[in-house]
């Protein structure tokens, strides 16, 4: 086992462990904080796999913005310190769906690759990603950005009922 | 209408200018403060001038002056009978009550009380703020000389009176 393997396993364990804590903890805000740990560990996995840019995008977007927004919303509405005993989460169906999907995918991947070794592609630097995105993947990229723009406009319209109403 | 952001720039200029000037801080315990001569620090007593007329104690708004005295007969050679004289036994000012209005000093007809700028007489016990006459007398050494008359101010009453007296002749 190389150092990279150990790192991968360790970070994977952290990601899975904190992910489990996110869904099992009864502390509402702590669940969000565990999510930070989980996403950070995933970013670490990307780093070990030399996908630098993706790793830091993960930190910037998910840790720096998405989770913060999530925590923000939770704190604005209801965020007691300590355990909340009145959570009504459908434990069994969630376990079935989540666990089933996770284990199924894992089994599929393990079965597909067995012991074949895949060399790391060249490092995912900003330059390489840029070339890839703006050469071979321009169309999906642009479609995605239009989709996001539409979502943005939609969000504004939904949240501002005064827009578009005729007096 | 000025240039937009003019106020912001002015604010920056003010703080920058202030930085280059000397600061106003007085480094008190290290450097003695330079107090004006009429500062009201503590009240000094010139015991010899006191006639125990009690005006100060009566005028004091919060009654913080305590005076005791007794009469003594003084035989003056050549006089028909012995004169009576007031002798001061006790003259205390309680500085825990004093509000530094200075009415006692104004009221004293014989110039027995003076302001001095000394102010370092804080005590750990409030009872120690009662200064007796010997302590009040010690402050006399710190009374500053009266400031010179303001050349542009109106002349003193003594001067105008003297001029009036001299005029008809």
């Amino acid at each position: 086992m190389t150092a990279a393997d150990v790192l991968l396993l360790g970070l994977g364990a952290v990601a899975v462990g904190s992910g489990l804590l996110v869904v099992t903890t009864r502390h509402l805000v702590r669940a969000g904080l565990y999510l930070v740990v989980c996403l950070g560990a995933v970013a670490g996995l990307y780093l070990v796999l030399t996908a630098e840019l993706v790793a830091w995008v993960q930190v910037l977007i998910y840790v720096g913005a998405v989770v913060v927004l999530l925590l923000f919303a939770v704190m604005l509405t209801r965020a007691p310190i300590g355990a909340s005993d009145d959570l009504d989460r459908p434990g069994w169906p969630a376990l079935l769906v989540g666990g089933g999907a996770g284990l199924g995918l894992a089994a599929l991947l393990v079965d597909a690759f067995r012991w074949t070794k895949v060399d790391l592609p060249e490092a995912g630097t900003a330059e390489r990603l840029g070339t890839e995105i703006f050469r071979s993947w321009v169309l999906p990229f642009e479609v995605l950005s239009v989709l996001l723009l539409a979502a943005l406009v939609g969000a504004i319209v939904v949240s501002r009922p005064d827009i578009g109403t005729r007096e | 209408m000025g240039v937009p952001g003019e106020g912001l720039a002015k604010g920056l200029a003010v703080t920058l200018k202030t930085m280059t000037r000397r600061s106003h801080t007085r480094q008190y315990p290290d450097v003695e403060p330079d107090l004006p001569p009429r500062s009201r620090g503590v009240i000094a007593l010139l015991e010899e001038n006191c006639t125990v007329c009690m005006l100060c104690a009566r005028e004091c708004p919060d009654w913080c002056i305590y005076i005791d005295s007794h009469k003594e007969e003084v035989v003056v050679p050549g006089a028909a009978r012995a004169r009576q004289r007031n002798v001061l036994d006790r003259f205390d000012i309680d500085f825990s009550l004093c509000m530094y209005c200075g009415i006692c000093i104004e009221a004293c007809p014989f110039d027995a009380l003076y302001w001095t700028p000394e102010f370092e007489y804080a005590e750990y016990d409030i009872r120690d703020l009662l200064h007796d006459k010997s302590r009040l007398g010690e402050w006399m050494a710190t009374v500053p000389p009266p400031p010179p008359h303001d050349p542009n101010g109106e002349p003193s009453k003594e001067e105008t009176a003297a001029v009036k007296k001299a005029a008809p002749r």
Binding site: L33, V67, L71, F72, M75 | V14, T18, M19, H24
Partner: protein, 320 residues
């Protein structure tokens, strides 16, 4: 030189910078602020003009009792100061001091790394604000989160403009590509980045989350002793980081009037301290912005200016 030795020296250098630069900036703040207000500032600690004031403060903080409120969420409460401090330490790793690899760790996407890691600071603010079990703390934390989320956008856009102009995300690369006329061309981005940066580290006049006259001390209200000192240290490291990023991105880093090769580190330091001085100067001069003014400035002024700058940069880039 073996790899491990070089790594140790680099990390040690960054740690030394992490421990000294904020103290120098903090002391400068004491003195500059005092003189701008016609005062003298600290004069006793260390005999000569109070140079050791911050060290004395540190000793005092260590001696103080470390109080955790009973209703607080203990682990989160105790972890928050560290989460606030560590990102800035990491950012210092990638900021180049001089040419020829005089940098903690040259990253190919250093700019991106710096922005991403600075963004993590919000989590610490939310953690401390919520875990204190104090309504003032919570209000401060929420204000801080709203402010940081808002100002992150113009910050990233302004940085993107200069990255576009230089054609690289590497911080040393940006400094190498920098030319004096960029000062003019990138001036709007410089202004936006600097203002958004000051807001990002919650310095006055953007200290609405702390707002001591209404929120006691915002998210730091319940902190005492060493943990509070960590928050303060994070603030001063924040000044250094924002000043250093401004220097590297917009003011040409180690490029100076002469001797870039051997005096580069000095030019960088001079520029960093000059920008830090401006940050302190702003604090003394302007009153705190109200919450709505704060958001208005961000969304209605900074973001449009940053977008316009992006268009300008792209146009110039295509034209040349």
């Amino acid at each position: 030189m073996p790899l491990w030795l070089e790594l140790t020296i680099r990390v040690a250098g960054v740690v030394v910078a992490f421990l000294t630069l904020p103290l120098i900036v903090g002391q400068a703040e004491h003195k500059v602020m005092a003189h701008m207000q016609g005062r003298l500032g600290p004069m006793y600690a260390g005999a000569f003009h109070g140079w050791a004031q911050l060290i004395a403060d540190g000793v005092k903080f260590v001696q103080k009792e470390d109080v955790t409120p009973r209703a607080a969420d203990r682990p989160v409460f105790q972890l928050a100061p560290l989460v606030a401090l560590v990102p800035y330490l990491l950012v210092l790793l990638v900021i180049p001091l001089g040419p020829d690899d005089l940098v903690g760790q040259a990253l190919d996407i250093g700019l991106f790394f710096a922005l991403a890691v600075v963004g993590v600071g919000v989590v610490a603010v939310l953690m401390s604000g919520w875990a204190s079990a104090n309504k003032y703390s919570l209000l401060g934390g929420l204000r801080a989160a709203a402010q940081l989320l808002g100002y992150e956008l113009p910050l990233v856009l302004a940085a993107a403009s200069v990255a576009m102009a230089a054609g690289t995300l590497s911080l040393p690369g940006i400094v190498e590509a920098w030319e004096p006329w960029w000062l003019l061309w990138q001036a709007p981005a410089l202004g936006v980045f600097f203002i958004a940066g000051v807001a990002e580290i919650r310095r006055p006049p953007f200290d609405m989350p702390i707002a001591d006259s209404e929120l006691v001390f915002g998210y730091m209200t319940e902190y005492t002793g060493l943990r509070f000192a960590f928050f303060l240290l994070a603030e001063y490291v924040g000044i250094v980081v924002i000043a250093a990023l401004t220097t590297v991105l917009f003011l040409g880093g180690w490029q100076g009037p002469f001797g870039d090769d051997y005096l580069g580190w000095l030019w960088t330091l001079i520029k960093v301290f000059a920008v830090s001085f401006v940050i302190i100067w702003l604090r003394v001069t302007y009153p705190r912005l109200r919450e709505d003014q704060l958001q208005r400035l961000c969304w209605l002024v900074l973001v449009p200016v940053a977008l316009a700058q992006l268009v300008l940069t792209a146009a110039v880039k295509i034209a040349t």
